[in-house]
């Protein structure tokens, strides 16, 4: 595994993207790597499309991932995975929650939620790992751990041992630790 990379987290404001990117960053830092993460706060958080850039390596300069340079995309919502296609390259890996949230134009019946969205990625040769984050999280005992399922699925591709992630979870998750760990492990199974 390369000791450097770019991870883009995307979804809808309020879905827990910041926590997922934070846990991932802590695990990378724990391995002695440098990292930078760029977040968007403020107006965009009100149910809009949100994104966090996480870059890691021996030494990181820019906090932003360039177009075409995201090695991993962790999408909390299906349409959002497709919105960030210009950030991907052919060898990118996309972990996507199959959950769908209707944007205003769809919710009001003005537009339709497009079908077969992920084919926009797979047709370009991009590896896509769809998963039912909420279903898996519910089975793991806590529906709010869907973000940990996604982090788990991402984690098998990173130069970080599982143990390191588990240590980070123990330190950083204040409540329902067991359920969070279970969700994380279920996520790992999907990409292992």
């Amino acid at each position: 595994m390369k000791p450097s990379g770019n991870i883009l987290f995307c979804g809808v404001g309020g879905q827990g993207i910041l926590l997922a990117s934070e846990i991932t960053a802590f695990a990378l830092l724990e391995c002695g790597l440098d990292a930078k993460k760029s977040e968007v706060h403020g107006m965009a958080q009100r149910g809009g499309s949100v994104v966090a850039h996480l870059r890691f390596g021996k030494k990181v300069f820019s906090p932003l991932i360039d177009p075409g340079q995201a090695d991993f995309l962790v999408a909390f919502e299906t349409m959002e995975a497709v919105r960030y296609l210009p950030f991907l390259h052919q060898a990118s890996r996309v972990i996507v929650n199959t959950h769908q949230i209707a944007p205003p134009a769809v919710a009001t019946g003005k537009m339709i939620y497009p079908a077969d969205l992920l084919s926009h990625l797979t047709s370009r040769g991009i590896a896509v790992y769809p998963l039912d984050g909420f279903g898996i999280a519910r089975a793991a005992g806590e529906i709010r751990t869907a973000n940990l399922v996604l982090v788990g699925a991402l984690s098998t591709f990173l130069p970080v041992e599982e143990e390191v992630f588990l240590e980070v979870l123990k330190k950083r998750i204040p409540r329902k630790l067991e359920e969070n760990i279970a969700a994380f492990k279920e996520g790992r199974k999907i990409t292992a």
Partner: protein, 604 residues
Amino acid sequence: MTKVSSKNKQWLSGNEAIARGAWEAGVTVASGYPGTPSTEILENLSSYKDVYTEWAPNEKVALEVGMGASFAGARVLVTMKHVGLNVAADPLFTASYTGVRGGIVIITADDPEMHSSQNEQDNRHYACAAKLPMLEPSDPAEALAMLKQAFAISEEFDTPVLLRTTTRVAHVKGLVATGKRKMGPVPVAVEKAPAKFVMLPANARMRRRAIAERMVRLAAFVETFAANRIDQGDRKIGFITGGISYLYVKEAFPKAVVLKIATTWPLPVNLIRDFASQVDEVIIVEELDPFLETHIKAAGIACTGKAKIPAMGELNPFIVKKALGQPTGEIFAPVDIPPRPPNMCPGCPHRGLFYNLGKYDVFIAGDIGCYTLGFLPPLSAMDSCVCMGASIGVAHGMDKALGEAARGRTVAVIGDSTFIHSGITGLINMVYNKSMSTVIILDNRTTAMTGHQANPASGSTLMGEPANAIDLAELCRAIGVKHVRTVNPHDIKACKKVLTEEIDRPEPSVIISQAPCVLLPEERKRPKTPLSIFVDNCTGCGTCVHLGCPAMSWVPLTPAEAKKLGKKEKQKGYARISAEMCNDCGQCLAVCKFKAIGKAEGTK
């Protein structure tokens, strides 16, 4: 984290690093007004012991508080977003004359690309215009280090110092070396110095000369200031850059020689001249205006900047490479999918107000806050938005332009925090100069947009202490508004009645639309009974869906599907409510004419 902390480094955002830096620098007083991307600085600083922190009603007051604390000898941090510095510009330009006792650092957090702002003004110009030094860090680690240096500069040169961040410094997290708290050198005391602090003309003329002398000394100081530094490399192109742009240059051209400018004002002109003489070509990379470029060219140094580098929006390494003719590779084209703009939350009280307001033939002068989202479809109920407090002046101005035809045609919509920030003077004007407009104060008891900061109407302070909560209705009456009505925006019918009466009134009136923000902790904890659709009763009229609530969606039906559900074939669909998202505000229930909405079973 063990490995991280063993190197004495913490994982901090730029804003967290500035808060930490302020604490380490011995700051004892801090004031500001919330504004993205600056807000988290004071929020974080309020968690440190031994620092007094406060939210001021606006940035002008915050800076004046800062000046008073500095005159007493304290080290002071004042924080605001870029447009906040416009509000604070009045004291800023004269703070340059008075100088300081304890150091003052003013954070201006700029927002290139306008992620959460109404403009992308480049506040570097303020440093030049107000004759103040400005420092610009590139990342959180530098933000902490430079803030401490800024306090030393402030006291040594008897000047407030501007420290400018941008969104990609303020909201970027990185590893930061932290240290211990060390207090400033100035003893705290009342020490009168009228020639320095009383800016009437005779004194001000003296201080004007002091500024000129200060700038000469600062110009010499920055030539050897270590944070202005050269990263050696290939000398074909010599880059001059600063702030976040420095990191983009390092990423895009890792082998090139780079002069990193930390002191945006004054510029180290001799250092720049020497650097330019040692490279084949000088390229200036900076976001927004050609600030460095203009002043470097004015010094007679040949360089290229905005002829190649975009002057609008944020930069990134990709844009820098492309602008300078470097290969960037093929990029996948975006896919045409429905947009996802931000939206008011499920159960937001503002939605009910805008739903009603959108039905009147009025010009709706809007303001700055979550409620600016009332502009977006399907509510589409905002006709102007300029700056904090502008709604009231705009409505009054339109009222005067329309003359007698103005009756019932203009409304101002403003949030509680924005009203206190700079709406009160507008309302005074409206009463004094006999407007026919109606001001609607959206009172949700908090400063919601920036993340729920307390304000003088909230009843608590930044430090978590109980405080007086302004009675907005009494305040409006004291100003001279004779008709002040309070409504519950969730009660659609009652609210409509009041709107109709007050909008038509040929006198100034105020409607206080009062309901708490659904994201306030006590509202989040409130048990909720989600609403649901009785599909059998739903005629697909779409009225509830046009509230634009994220919990509501439209289920389209084909004629066959409609028939199968026992509906008319022409019914194009029906509404659905997400029980997970619903906050049981009841607005949809109030607008439904077909008894198709009711309480679902159970609470959550």
